[in-house]
């Protein structure tokens, strides 16, 4: 299980950059990022190497954040592997709220990040199928 930080941003020029510049200043490394938008506001979701530091520096700068648990799964960079992981979850009747992927990591396998209401069951079925689940210290 890894932790994800969500940040409320207004949908206007520079608002995402405001978040990344706070993280840059705090020396936090972004591992994965995805955004959701509506015409007026959006949510930035981030996996970083130091979630505690990231949250405190963002809060200090007046951002509204929320830390939640997500699952990170390491995949081999081969055709059909994402499909296979999703099949495992589907067979286990796990509903995925959203999914996004890590930025390319030199020499390392790709990682998919997803959110579900049923983490325990998700991790159980993935482990049973021999899929590697990321832990925070590996970020």
């Amino acid at each position: 299980m890894i932790r994800q930080i969500s940040v409320f941003v207004e949908n206007q020029p520079g608002s995402m950059m405001n978040v990344t510049s706070v993280l840059t200043e705090a020396g936090v490394n972004i591992r994965a990022i995805s955004t959701f938008d509506t015409p007026e506001f959006g949510i930035m979701r981030l996996v970083v190497d130091d979630p505690v530091c990231a949250k405190s520096s963002l809060t200090e700068k007046g951002f509204v954040t929320r830390v939640s648990d997500v699952t990170g799964v390491e995949l081999k960079d081969e055709q059909g592997n994402l499909n296979q992981m999703l099949k495992i979850l589907a067979d286990g009747k796990i509903n995925i709220d959203y999914i996004y992927s890590f930025v390319i990591r030199e020499g390392k396998a790709p990682v998919m990040v997803f959110h579900t209401d049923d983490f325990e069951q998700a991790e159980k079925v993935l482990e049973a199928a021999g899929v590697k689940i990321m832990e925070e210290e590996e970020l």
Binding site: E10, T38, I43, V64, T65, S68, D97, H115
Partner: protein
């Protein structure tokens, strides 16, 4: 640090002879003073003489306070037309100071004072400070602006009359405000309610609530709601009092509420209040809402006769539990001129605030109303700040929140509202009068 609960409250009345006077005695005093002031303006101010002559009224026709209805009104427009010193009733050399406020057309609305006017002003504010439980032992941190604006100096004169210690901080620089408040051990502070809330939140965020010795807050110069008062009181553990005044009449200290929070006691020995139906100008019954109209009964420099304040309120002449017999005006429901008519519906910013606060602390009461006209249709957008308590990682939950706020506002205002969620602290906190409404319609 804690505010005093009602059961342990010791009521302090600065001038019981006046403040607890019987209605007959007060009427006698008012009769005398009104007769004098009318005679004075008739003799010394062309504007009043002409206006009274137009109405066929002479000073001799004004024998008692009831006769006030015979006198013509004075409006802000009249002040503008006689800017700057056209309404002066004393020689300029006897004017010891001038205060002012922004007028509607860029020019100032000014208020000149004689030495005695300044003393009366301080006395009235001091009555209010006593009403708030303060004595000559208190340290009053004044973070109203000092300058032409009457807030800073008004509270300063009040503290001086009371013999309390005034800390003339003026507005701005919240960190420094907190430091001085803590270091000098302020027991009360005075500023606009919106800044009071901002300051309270800042004190709370800095973990300094327990370091403060505050017991009372004196707030006015803009309308605020009971909910806002409770919020400031509960964050700082103090009692907050609503002070009212307007520069033209004297500045803060025209009226203030007591611990019973049952309306603002008007110092009716100096400022005679009438509440009138804004269109028919007929006198409202006690409890009925209308426009507040003041006559200054003892002002020397620029007495105002039946000055229309555009503030909407109601009046209650019954004696208060605190022992005062001074008439009470209700907390303001708004001004006749900050009311917005949106698709034919009257909307007051205070309604938005009350509605947001009624959502049980879900939403911080920092908001901004923006009125636009799109395709000949009025559109009201209310910007609301999202904070930690309501932020969800999921768009659908935020959208649900937005719909809930929109529904609450629609119900409260009777007009549909677009709600825009914005980042925390992105709505400007005011250190003076909060701007709550932007009207882009060019009406």
């Amino acid at each position: 640090m804690a505010g005093v609960a009602l059961e342990n409250w010791v009521e302090r009345i600065r001038d019981p002879k006046i403040e607890c006077m019987s209605r007959d005695e007060m009427a006698d005093l008012q009769n005398r003073r009104l007769t004098e002031v009318v005679k004075k303006v008739y003799e010394n101010v062309d504007f009043y003489r002409k206006k009274m002559q137009q109405r066929g009224v002479e000073p001799g026709d004004i024998k008692s306070i009831e006769d006030i209805e015979k006198l013509p009104f004075t409006t802000k427009e009249d002040l503008k037309n006689n800017y700057p010193f056209g309404l002066l009733a004393i020689p300029m050399k006897d004017v010891v100071r001038v205060q002012g406020t922004s007028g509607t057309t860029g020019k100032l609305t000014i208020a000149p004072y004689s030495q005695k006017d300044v003393e009366v002003w301080g006395e009235c504010v001091a009555r209010g400070l006593a009403m708030a439980g303060l004595t000559d032992e208190d340290i009053i941190h004044v973070c109203y602006g000092y300058g032409l604006f009457t807030g800073g100096l008004g509270l300063d004169y009040g503290a001086k009359a009371l013999g309390a210690t005034a800390i003339p901080m003026s507005a701005g620089n919240t960190k420094r405000q907190m430091m001085v408040m803590e270091d000098l051990g302020a027991t009360a502070f005075a500023c606009t309610p919106s800044y009071a809330l901002y300051l309270a939140e800042s004190i709370q965020e800095a973990g300094l609530v327990d370091h403060m010795k505050l017991k009372a807050g004196i707030h006015g110069a803009e309308p605020w709601t009971e909910e806002m008062r409770k919020k400031i009181e509960s964050i700082l553990h103090i009692n907050c009092f609503d002070i009212y005044g307007l520069c033209e009449i004297t500045g803060p200290g025209v009226a203030q509420d007591c611990i019973h929070k049952a309306g603002l006691h008007v110092h009716a020995d100096y400022f005679y209040p009438e509440v009138l139906n804004p269109s028919t100008h007929e006198k409202c019954e006690d409890g009925e809402t209308g426009e507040l109209v003041f006559t200054t009964l003892a002002k020397e420099a620029m007495p105002l006769i039946r000055y229309r304040t555009k503030d909407l309120t109601s009046i209650d002449h019954s004696p208060c539990e605190c022992g005062r017999t001074l008439p009470r005006i209700s907390k303001f429901t708004g001004r006749t001129d900050d009311m917005k008519v949106i698709r034919g519906v009257n909307v007051f910013p205070t309604q938005v605030e009350t509605a947001l606060l009624s959502m049980g602390g879900v939403i911080a009461p920092h908001y901004m109303m923006i009125v636009d006209r799109e395709d000949n249709m009025d559109v009201l957008t209310v910007m609301v700040e999202v904070d930690e308590r309501v932020f969800s990682d999921e768009i659908r939950k935020l959208d649900a929140l937005r719909s809930r706020i929109a529904a609450t506002l629609r119900q409260a205002l009777g007009v549909s509202v677009r709600v825009k969620l914005v980042e925390p602290k992105s709505i400007q906190r005011s250190e003076g009068k909060a701007v709550r409404v932007v009207d882009n319609r060019n009406l």
